[in-house]
């Protein structure tokens, strides 16, 4: 017999995310310096014991801004995932459960949406509703919906044909009850995996949008915006680029590992 395999992905993923969650919670009460306070005379300091990650061109403490930046990141990620999962499951579940020509139409629309590079849609949505943290999150949430809808749909189609559903149908259980009580709990795990991937992608997309100047706006600290602001200082003050860049990477990595970990876990169980 093989020894029990440690789920390293889950372990590391959880650890990384826990670390950032704690950082975020702490940042609500304490940051080493005021996040937005400007001290021009103190600008572009290299990392030191006073400023662990150095200071930016306005003399603001980069560590404090990164800590506050995790708030924005978690906020955007949560809103995106929430929108994606709720609407994705509703649309995909409906299409999968009802089937027929309605399913066909919905899936064609979703295909059309997915045939379209997401960033372009995001650019247009942001252009209409204006920039800002919440608008960015909503735009990205709309983008996350079709992918999750597909997953939900295939889950519903698979489960619909199973005996327990037809049994429930035959004894006249209300369709809504079947959907929420019977099918949904059974496609729970792929949805959780999809949600954590959506969270990771949302963080990256927010960074890209902010980099293009279309995402989170000042003075809200955003990791993506910090990266954009740092671009001109790349050669002279590399820490300004590296600190937010590495933070985003770790954060996204945490969510990817979490999703893989959950997937491994459920795969094992099903075996």
């Amino acid at each position: 017999m093989k020894r029990k395999k440690i789920n390293l992905n889950l372990l590391v993923g959880c650890f990384v995310l826990l670390f950032f969650l704690v950082t975020m919670v702490v940042s609500f009460f304490y940051t080493p310096y005021d996040v937005n306070a400007i001290a021009v005379s103190n600008k572009l300091q290299a990392p030191s014991s006073a400023h662990w990650f150095g200071t930016d061109p306005f003399g603001r403490d980069i560590l404090s801004r990164i800590m506050a930046g995790t708030q924005t990141a978690f906020f955007v990620g949560s809103v995106v995932t929430l929108i994606g999962v709720v609407f994705g499951t509703l649309i995909g579940g409906f299409a999968g459960y009802v089937g027929g020509w309605l399913d066909e139409i919905i899936m064609r629309a979703i295909d059309a949406l997915m045939a379209f590079p997401g960033i372009i849609l995001a650019i247009m949505i942001v252009a209409v509703f204006g920039t800002g943290t919440l608008n960015t999150a909503i735009a990205l949430g709309i983008l996350a919906t079709p992918g999750i809808a597909r997953i939900a749909r295939s889950g519903f189609i698979q489960n619909k044909q199973l005996e327990y559903v037809s049994a429930a149908k035959s004894i006249g259980v209300h369709p809504l009850k079947i959907i929420f009580r019977e099918i949904l709990p059974n496609i729970y795990s792929p949805l959780i995996v999809a949600a954590s991937v959506a969270f990771a992608i949302a963080l990256l997309a927010e960074a890209s949008l902010s980099y293009l100047g279309l995402g989170v706006q000042p003075p809200d600290p955003s990791l993506g915006r910090m990266l954009k602001e740092s671009q001109e200082y790349l050669t002279t003050s590399p820490w300004f680029t590296l600190a937010p860049g590495i933070t985003i990477t770790l954060l996204v990595l945490g969510f990817y590992m979490l999703s893989n970990g959950i997937r491994d876990l459920t795969d094992h169980r099903s075996k």
Binding site: M114, I120, V128, L204, S208, L212
Partner: protein
């Protein structure tokens, strides 16, 4: 045959859908192309005259129908921002974006397939674990951050790489490669990570099947087992992934063109949106959708070629 007709109709419907959405979005967008171009010194008389001359004084739907009418005659209209035909503008930039996409895809394929085979062969060994973790990292890094780091550590140290700007192929082949390789690498990195996992898993699944065991049992050499049997039969999921990736690669060019100041389609699109240049946005959006749909179509055809059991049906 009916399949092809069906697909074609679907394509037309998709394009119409996207065109109408783009138009509606532009109806809501605040801002006026002429004023945005002229800036805060604009003269009222001048703005009015220019709008008349450009046909922008007409209601939105009239302008749109006019544009659609032109479409059927093969004319995508003129850019407001650049006062020249949209088709020409897109064609000028196509070589840049296309080279970028193709080079990235080549990098992805060249790296992924050998790496996937290598990793699959060493399933559950440390090297496999390291590769898997490494690719997760690759997916987690924001593309533009990779681009900036590449500029900082590689672009600045070697004369060969042009960082910021594009050298046309006609001018110098090495120059063109020098200006495209870093951005292409930037786009490729996260895609390598995604496709690597697919290739690895596909090969793993295949190599556990009976026929592979039989082949091994018969004493067929490992190389032949892998390359002749396993790889060929793993190609279907792999082709799917490369199809998906190409759409991502095209999207990736938008951000990367910005990081490396390459005058490609993505940059044109961003300029066009910010200047409310509807004909250009419409042209590019339809163009990208067309490319993505056609690629999906090719992927479907490839399925049938690779596996005769698959019939082309909806």
């Amino acid at each position: 045959m009916t399949y092809v007709v069906r697909r074609f109709l679907l394509l037309v419907v998709t394009l119409i859908f996207i065109s109408v959405i783009t138009f509606l979005v532009f109806q809501i967008l605040p801002g006026d192309p002429v004023r945005t171009m002229l800036g805060p010194d604009a003269d009222e008389a001048q703005v009015e005259t220019l709008k008349q001359q450009l046909g922008l004084d007409q209601p939105g739907h009239v302008q749109y129908l006019h544009l659609v009418e032109g479409f059927f005659q093969g004319d995508m209209g003129d850019s407001i921002r650049f006062s020249r035909p949209v088709t020409g503008l897109i064609m000028e930039r196509l070589p840049i974006t296309l080279s970028l996409a193709v080079i990235s895809l080549i990098i992805v394929i060249l790296v992924t397939i050998p790496l996937g085979i290598f990793s699959a062969k060493r399933e559950k060994k440390w090297s496999d674990f390291f590769l898997s973790s490494f690719t997760q990292l690759g997916m987690a890094v924001p593309t533009f951050f990779v681009g900036m780091v590449l500029i900082l550590f590689i672009g600045m140290s070697f004369q060969f790489f042009t960082t910021g700007g594009y050298v046309p192929w006609s001018e110098s082949i090495t120059g063109a490669i020098g200006s495209l390789i870093l951005p292409a690498l930037t786009i490729a990195l996260p895609q390598i990570a995604i496709s690597f996992r697919y290739v690895r898993n596909a090969i793993l699944e295949q190599s556990k099947l009976d026929y592979v065991r039989t082949a091994r049992g018969k004493g067929v050499s490992e190389a032949i087992v892998i390359y002749k049997h396993v790889l060929r039969n793993s190609l279907i999921p792999v082709v799917t992934v490369f199809g998906l990736i190409l759409a991502e690669v095209i999207a990736g060019t938008i951000v990367v063109e910005q990081v490396f100041s390459l005058p490609g389609i993505g940059r044109l699109l961003i300029t066009a949106v910010s200047y409310r240049d509807f004909p250009v946005v419409q042209g590019i959006v339809l163009y990208i959708a067309l490319v993505v749909v056609v690629i999906n179509f090719i992927v479907d055809i490839l399925y049938a070629v690779l596996d005769p059991r698959i019939r082309l049906k909806s």
